[in-house]
Amino acid sequence: MKKRSTTVIAIVGALIGLLWLFPFYMIATNSFKTPKGIFASVLSLPHPATGDNYVNSFKALSFVGSLTNSLIITICSVLLIIICSSMAAYALQRNHSKLSGGLLLLFISSMLIPFQSVMIPLTANFGGVHMLNMWGLMFMYLGFDCSLSIFLYQGTLSSIPLAMDEAAEMEGANRWQIYFKVILPMLNPMTVTVAILNIIAIWNDYLLPSLVLPQIQYTIPLQMFNFFGEFTKQWHLALAGITLSVIPVILFYLFAQKWIIKGVTDGAVK
């Protein structure tokens, strides 16, 4: 009986999955078509298939350089976000006062501000102190993305028993040690989730880096937009470029997914 229901679930899942995959089928197949092939029939299989798009796209994107930039920016920003926002969430969650409730709302409300309305003052301010570069960008990502991360962490922290803090405190650990050695490891599944969400956001971000980064620090999306002129959109290159740039993220996701596991707090308290 149990067997059958999981089979049904698996089949339903697979069907929905196909629906989800269809656009990717389009991206993948069209990336192997000639420009003419793409517009002759977007839905068909590539005929004739060509790998040229990948070669050309790889060159046009200065792939190695821009991949390096993308990697540096994404990894550093995400690390910064994870550390800082889990710390903040920990402080807020373990403190039951009006103040911390208010601060949380402050963080949350910051997520509602339309980016475009702060864009010009923000870059003006950062330009004023010569921070329009990678490092400034990372700091901006911290400012923009910490709120969601704090919000996510904050919800999970409530399921980590306070007894964990207490036990560690009794053993002489200070706040930092408690956070770092006891709490953070137990947040792993959420950390991975936060990492995934932030990585995809930062990896694909175009607008902010386009305002902030000097040319030598260009990321993949910035290079990619050279394919999108006002009139001529070079879809054959863009699709190949997208495929190239999305592979690292998918690999990361598949790798990271394993950490989103059940029962991190099992066995902690009676």
Partner: protein, 286 residues
């Protein structure tokens, strides 16, 4: 942690500083500009509430507002139902569940602008082909009017974001202690009862977060709007964010755009925060 304690503030400092410098100070500047005739570079005079009065009379803004509200209502419901549904689906134990998890999430790995293009093809060609093959007229002529534009946006948004919502739900689902589920099984709860009585109440924080996210993202959505319909036809599918952006860039009326942004912020903040405060009350500490 006492809020008088040093560590409380030390833990909060990095994010508070970043938030202030990156979001709040620029926003206050923006607020200031909304009372001027700022053009994005400089301003010549203070204009008081002129911009706020203008925006109330701005039909496009009001239209965009209602269109966005309808969009938000539909997507909030769909995203949470589907996102949670997918999360429940892929947290079942069966072969390939991990693989499916990746598939459902994949749409997020590609930026909204590019997806708009892909989906245009699906709507204009895929739907047309399907519609004529199945003799379903409603599948044809998508994105050519307000209704199909609306549902087109809904479909793309749901398709893309439900994976996002899903992984948030997954993260919280995995946090439910096993023993509680076991206890419910012993108490004789069916899977559905387990879900409504145990799982769902225990992932209340996830619900709060996801409600908030879908709500605020629904209001703020821009990329999909731009790439799929670009507000068209005849600006009928233009949403709030796009209206603000267009006011600023196409019409070069930055101060009016800032005023719109402030009004937008107030409205969305009021709705979302009420939602958060309401939901938080249902959460429990373990």
């Amino acid at each position: 942690m006492k809020n008088r304690s040093l560590s409380f503030w030390l833990f909060l400092t990095p994010t508070l500083v970043a938030l202030a410098l990156v979001v709040f100070i620029p926003m206050l500047e923006g607020l200031f500009y909304s009372f001027t005739d700022w053009d994005g570079l400089s301003f010549t005079k203070m204009v008081g509430f002129k911009n706020y009065i203008t925006l109330l009379q701005d039909k496009a803004f009001v239209n965009a507002f209602w269109f966005t509200v309808a969009f938000v209502i539909v997507t909030v419901i769909l995203l949470n139902v589907i996102g949670l549904g997918l999360a429940l689906l892929v947290t079942q134990k069966f072969k390939g569940s991990n693989f499916l998890r990746a598939i459902f999430f994949m749409p997020n790995m590609i930026g909204g602008l590019i997806l708009g293009f892909i989906w245009q093809f699906i709507f204009t060609q895929g739907f047309d082909a399907l519609g004529s093959a199945l003799h379903l007229s409603w599948l044809q002529n998508w994105l050519t009017n307000e209704t199909t534009g609306f549902w087109g946006l809904v479909i793309v948004t749901v398709w893309q974001m439900s994976g996002y919502i899903m992984i948030i739900y997954i993260a919280y689902l995995q946090n439910i202690p096993n023993e509680v589920i076991e206890a419910a099984e012993i108490d004789g709860a069916s899977p559905w009862q387990r879900f409504t009585k145990i799982t769902f109440p225990m992932i209340a924080p996830a619900f709060t977060v996801c409600m908030f996210l879908t709500l605020s993202n629904g209001f703020k959505i821009y990329d999909q709007n731009l790439s799929l319909t670009n507000g068209g036809p005849y600006n009928s599918t233009q949403m709030l964010a796009m209206d603000i952006v267009n006011t600023a860039y196409n019409a070069s009326n930055f101060s009016l755009a800032e005023a719109k942004a402030m009004v937008f912020f107030l409205i969305v903040a009021a709705i979302s925060l009420v939602q958060v405060l309401y939901n938080r009350r249902r959460e429990v500490d373990l």
